[in-house]
């Protein structure tokens, strides 16, 4: 393999082997931990972009799976 990249995009980034069970046990929690570390305004803006991307400006009918998900954020929050 003679190829040497001009940039090393993951220089110093650690990697490790994980079993599927170990990986998925931490996967969503790690993403949630990252999001909770971000400013509230950023999180709300991202949630709004997500809603519009997924569902349009509305009005619309939520797909079955979304209807089953409970609300976790109130207006006061």
């Amino acid at each position: 393999m003679a190829f040497t990249p001009s940039v090393r995009p993951l220089a110093g980034v650690p990697g490790r082997l994980e079993s599927s069970k170990e990986h998925w046990a931490r996967h969503d929690r790690a993403q949630l931990r990252y999001w909770l570390s971000q400013p509230v305004a950023e999180r709300l803006a991202q949630a709004e972009r997500y809603r519009v991307r997924q569902l349009g400006e509305g009005p619309h009918v939520l797909p079955r799976t979304f209807q089953l998900l409970p609300s976790v954020v109130s207006d006061e929050q």
Partner: protein
């Protein structure tokens, strides 16, 4: 409703290096969902690699070239037998290299993969049917939500 997820340069550079080392891989997960018209937000980048020893030697060489650390104990022969996944980094720049995924064998994934690009980098994405089968087999609420959206009849949704 045709907005795509923003391009993340390190992920594109990573794919470029995989290509240059001849790694046999398919992009899966949220990037594949986005490719099929549902650009949901995620903090990682998932690739499914052919779990053969030859291919895993190429993966290891590519990871070394990209600058990833922690590879000294990564033996491709042992890795292939364990079918463990290799996680690089943390959110929001996390890459998962998987040797197996729910419900789909690599040969099936590869046969149905669709040629596309991540940014300007040519890659293959998991095909829509295989992606839906994978999401159904995973069975997590967000995967089932993806299935709902991937199978919706919204005419504005691009395939």
């Amino acid at each position: 409703m045709t907005e795509r997820r923003p391009y993340t340069e390190p992920f594109g550079q990573f794919c470029d290096i995989l290509n240059r080392f001849g790694v046999d891989f398919v992009v899966i997960g949220s990037e594949a969902v986005a490719f099929h018209g549902i650009p949901r937000f995620s903090l990682d980048f998932d690739v499914f690699v052919r779990p053969t020893t030859v291919n895993l030697f190429r993966v290891k060489a590519a990871l070394e070239s990209a600058g990833v650390t922690g590879l000294s104990d990564l033996d491709p022969e042992v890795w292939g037998k364990s079918r463990s996944l290799f996680r690089i980094g943390e959110p929001p720049l996390q890459i998962d290299v998987l040797l197996q995924i729910s419900g789909i064998d690599y040969n099936v994934a590869s046969a149905g993969a669709v040629a596309g690009a991540y940014g300007d980098i040519p890659v293959r994405f998991l095909g829509r049917t295989a992606l839906i089968d994978n999401k159904k087999a995973s069975g997590r609420p967000k995967d089932l939500a993806d299935v709902d959206l991937l199978t919706s009849d919204d005419p504005d949704r691009t395939a």
